[in-house]
């Protein structure tokens, strides 16, 4: 197993585990062996021949990147023979490499430059003209390739093959003519294509956006986090003179394994967008008047207080966001719960509760588990870096993959077992799996019929196969997407987790994989109507008082986000503060939401981009947002990391605005100096965050402690909505969707899909629709145009519609967060 082998490198002894490569062993004791083609994530290859070393008792020089350590090996990396070889190989490498360094974007951070300086020959002996190849040509709209600079190390093609597993980028032709290319010169535009820019050891693959904009040494690099999905990948934001320049990876094996997706790398144009809210405005006599942000914050707080005094604390509400940082959300929790005294806080439209009945697994556990069970999750579109991690686990670590979903996903290709339940039948499907596991465990079973194929579309036999796979796995990592579950299914899922955990000798953990930056943090910070921070139920007044001081627990039951809209429509809710959320687009039934918001006497929108909701607001506050803000976020693995500021702004930071609101109403104002002062406070008050501090999250972040699940009762199967007109609607997440973050001018705009609807063959036959036809989705008196794709992506009786754009207005079709029915029809012929 972990047998250590002793070897000697340059007379220095080192002891490394069996199977370690010589180049890694040398790195351990600080001896550098130059490499080009070797990359620790891509494994040994040995084509650049740069890492030649002398090993005693071996007749020839050997490559340190392919040679594993042997007992009593004696390696020399600086002998005259090695130096001659290094110089020779570098001479060959440089033979046809153009002298572009002064204009090359890699200049200054180029391994070829560095190695040439350290190990290269002093002079060139090449007397012929260098080979001419294509200079800068677009490999995709975001990557430019310069084939002259390529040294054919094949890092990028191996990345495409091993990591991304698309084999989209390949080595064409052979010998001296070989070049990196794609099939038929098609653009190389996978979801993770940008990583080849980082791993290219020369300037052959460059970021089209960053090309020639700045030299690498001129950049101010800030070690920050990606703020798109729930992975919170580590990245470096490079800026110059306070202008955004580029995003690079910042490898953190515990989170991103050294990669970021293209949305992280190229999707940051919104930082300098024209649609940003940069100043605070107040609606006075039908006109927006600009004023000082903190002054408007004070006024807002006072108006909220006035409404509370007049109509009671139930008349105000807060819709937060899974995109804010923990500090901002924590302060909002304080403002609304303690200063204004309401439990009306929420950040989402689906139902979820904090805490898990099993261990909270981190990303690394995906690799160390024996089985990954994906429930309702489509990592490729929702959490790209988790997708890469699962692919790695399945193909290279021998982990098995079982999928329980209502739609086909990209991972189905490599899954050991993939079951597709009918859209909307997730609760029964989960109960069926739980029951077939519970059958042999003598645990209380979920009551009701679960095994009938007509209910879920999954045969009992298949479900048993899945149960068998889970039962024999020994270590299971469940990855589920709470946002894709309908109705109260989340309780069934937590029941299922509990059942799996009760299997003898079973290690089970889960990753609640909601596709938003900080939805875990939002729940932990108590932006929920029924939970205080740290998963303390608001009905548990004893515990609330214990943590927050006597009298902190509130009598009223809070309203969820959708209930707040209901109450606003009926006039019971008078004021609403919307923080970085866009209910008009992201909540079901736009017409109703709009009319409800218009009825409010006070609508405060605190956001970074102008949205359909901010247009309706009576007060608009600017939020800084990713790039400008700082604070901690909690990723889906429960890891708390620090999002550093990348660019400076004149605007007040969000935490200052919120604390101004709190302070203008409270008798004992607390002045926070930095965002870390808030972190310090929340680490003391929020259960699970006690070890989070500026120091402990510095480099790799820190996993917050597990939050216990509150519910232990076996849920019942809810009423099945079997009647409805037309087909069941399932809205699928799309990574590159045209929204406020990626607008039409984004470099990723080529990824935007047209409005599409995916049908099962049977339904398509019934409706007389075929591939490529125009069709109309109708419900709620709203019609959405889409192109038909007959793809069997879901079981019959449902239609899957990817959410490709905000303009599409998909949520207008639905009424609630459970099953919605739509009619699919042919457009009228004019």
């Amino acid at each position: 197993m972990s047998e250590d082998i002793n070897i000697t490198i340059n007379d220095q002894p080192v002891s490394v585990p069996k199977g370690t490569l010589v180049v890694e062993a040398a790195k351990k004791i600080g001896i550098e062996i130059p490499v080009f083609c070797y990359h620790e994530k891509l494994g040994p290859f040995g084509c650049c021949r740069m890492c030649l070393v002398e090993v005693e008792k071996m007749p020839k020089l050997t490559t340190a990147c392919t040679q594993t350590v042997m007992p009593d090996m004696v390696v020399k990396t600086e002998s005259p023979k090695v130096i001659k070889a290094q110089q020779g190989v570098l001479e060959f490498t440089l033979l046809n490499h153009p002298l572009d360094c002064p204009v090359c974007d890699k200049g200054g951070e180029c391994p070829l430059q560095n190695n040439t300086f350290k190990y290269g020959p002093g002079d060139t002996r090449m007397e012929f003209d260098r080979a001419n190849r294509d200079k800068a040509t677009p490999l995709s709209p975001v990557i430019t390739i310069d084939r002259e600079r390529c040294i054919a190390c094949q890092r990028c093609t191996r990345y495409s093959d091993i990591i991304e597993q698309e084999s989209a980028l390949v080595m064409l032709n052979r010998g001296f003519n070989n070049e990196v290319g794609t099939f038929n010169n098609e653009p190389y535009d996978t979801k993770y294509s940008g990583n080849v820019i980082d791993i290219c050891p020369v300037g052959a693959l460059t970021n089209t956006q960053f090309r020639f904009k700045a030299r690498t040494w001129d950049l101010d690099n800030s070690a920050t986090l990606c703020a798109h999905c729930g992975c919170n990948c580590n990245m470096t934001l490079g800026s110059r003179t306070n202008k955004f320049m580029r995003i690079e990876t910042r490898p953190n094996d515990l989170v991103d394994d050294g990669w970021v997706c293209d949305k992280a790398r190229f999707g940051y144009d919104f930082i300098e967008s024209d649609h940003r809210i940069v100043e605070a405005t107040n609606l006075v006599d039908g006109e927006y008047k600009v004023a000082k942000t903190l002054e408007i914050a004070r006024q807002t707080a006072e108006s909220l207080k006035k409404i509370v005094d007049e109509y009671g604390p139930e008349s105000i509400g807060f819709i937060g966001s899974p995109f804010g940082t923990n500090e901002e959300l924590y302060l909002y929790h304080k403002l609304f719960r303690f200063t204004l005294g309401t439990n009306n806080l929420d950040h989402k439209i689906y139902i979820d509760t904090p805490g898990l009945p099993v261990d909270h697994y981190d990303f690394l556990n995906v690799e160390t588990a024996n089985l990954v069970l994906l429930i309702g999750s489509d990592p490729a579109e929702e959490l790209p870096i988790l997708d890469l991690r699962i692919k790695k686990a399945i193909t290279r670590k021998g982990v098995k993959l079982a999928i329980l979903n209502d739609q086909k996903t990209e991972l189905d290709k490599i899954a050991d077992l993939s079951l597709m339940y009918d859209v909307g039948s997730d609760e029964i499907a989960l109960a069926a799996l739980a029951n077939s596991l519970a059958l042999e465990l003598d645990i209380e079973m979920v009551e009701g019929e679960t095994s009938d194929e007509s209910l879920t579309g999954i045969a009992e036999r298949r479900m048993k196969e899945m149960a068998e796979l889970v039962r024999t796995a020994m270590k299971v990592c469940v990855v589920y997407n709470p946002a894709s579950l309908t109705g109260n299914s989340i309780f069934m899922l937590k029941h299922l987790l509990g059942v799996i955990n009760k299997i003898p000798t079973m290690e089970c953990g889960a990753i609640p994989a909601a596709p938003f930056t900080n939805s875990l943090g939002a729940m932990d910070m108590g932006i929920l109507p029924d939970y205080y921070p740290g998963g303390i139920s608001s009905s548990d007044s004893g515990k609330v008082d214990q943590v927050w001081g006597d009298g902190s627990s509130l009598q009223s039951k809070g309203l969820s986000a959708l209930e707040m809209i209901d109450k606003a429509e009926s006039g019971e809710l008078k004021a609403l503060l919307v923080y970085r959320n866009n209910p008009v687009i992201d909540f079901p039934d736009r017409k109703r939401v709009e009319s409800a918001l218009k009825k409010l006497s006070l609508l405060v929108v605190h956001d970074m981009m102008k949205t359909e909701t901010s247009v309706l607001a009576t007060t608009v506050l600017p939020s800084n947002g990713p790039g400008y803000d700082e604070g901690t976020t909690t990723n889906i693995g429960g890891r708390v990391q620090y999002r550093k500021r990348g660019l400076n702004t004149k605007n007040s930071p969000d935490w200052k605005i919120i604390s101004k609101m709190i302070n203008s109403l409270s008798e004992k104002p607390i002045e926070y100096l930095t965002s870390f002062s808030v972190t310090e406070e929340l680490s003391q008050t929020v259960p699970g965050y006690s070890e989070i501090s500026k120091k402990s999250i510095k480099k790799e972040g820190k996993t917050r402690e597990k939050i216990e699940s509150a519910n232990g009762v076996v849920p019942e199967i809810g009423k099945v909505e079997s009647s409805g007109q037309g087909l069941k609607l399932r809205i699928a997440e799309q990574l590159f969707a045209k929204d406020k973050i990626l607008d039409a001018s984004s470099p990723l705009a080529h990824h935007f899909l047209p409005s599409t609807l995916c049908l099962h063959k049977k339904d398509a036959l019934k409706l007389d629709l075929s591939n490529g036809d125009q069709a109309i989705l109708a419900a709620n008196g709203v019609e959405v145009k889409a192109i038909v794709e007959v793809s069997n992506r879901c079981n019959p009786g449902a239609v899957i519609v990817p959410r490709v754009s905000d303009d599409q207005g998909l949520l207008r079709l639905s009424r609630s967060c459970s099953v919605n029915w739509v009619e699919v029809k042919k457009p009228k012929v004019e």
Binding site: P102, V103, F212, A214, R215, W217, D218
Partner: protein, 162 residues
Amino acid sequence: MILKTFDGVKHLLIGLGVTFKNLFSKPVTFSYPEVKRIMPERYRGRHFLNRDENGLEKCIGCSLCSINCPVGCIHVVSAENDPDHPVSPGERYAEVYEINLLRCIYCGYCEEACPVDAVVLREHYELADYDRDKYLATKGDLLVYPEPNEFKVNILGNTTRV
């Protein structure tokens, strides 16, 4: 006594000898500003940016001058050339090129670092002005050279007229 007087006169004459000698030699001073000194070829005065034989800017915006500048007085912002209307040969050019002449110590490192011999320090030494803002030499200021631009910088940093 007389001997002492002679001695005094002798020493006086010796002293005045230097004065007389220089009274009739060519003066080393110039009556500036009517007459201007011709500076040696390697004199490091004001900076200029060269153009190549096609009239394109030689500067490719590589920023090596700015990174080598010991006082950090050079600011370069580069941009990609439009292939149809190139500003410089090659792929990139300097969109902004500014030298703060007040901060500059005229060490000539920029000239030495330049891989394309674009920036040079020439013999212009009349740099006095009343306005501090004028010392921020922009690309427009630097590209104007009062004489034909035909000179070369060799490997030692020597500027020679061609």
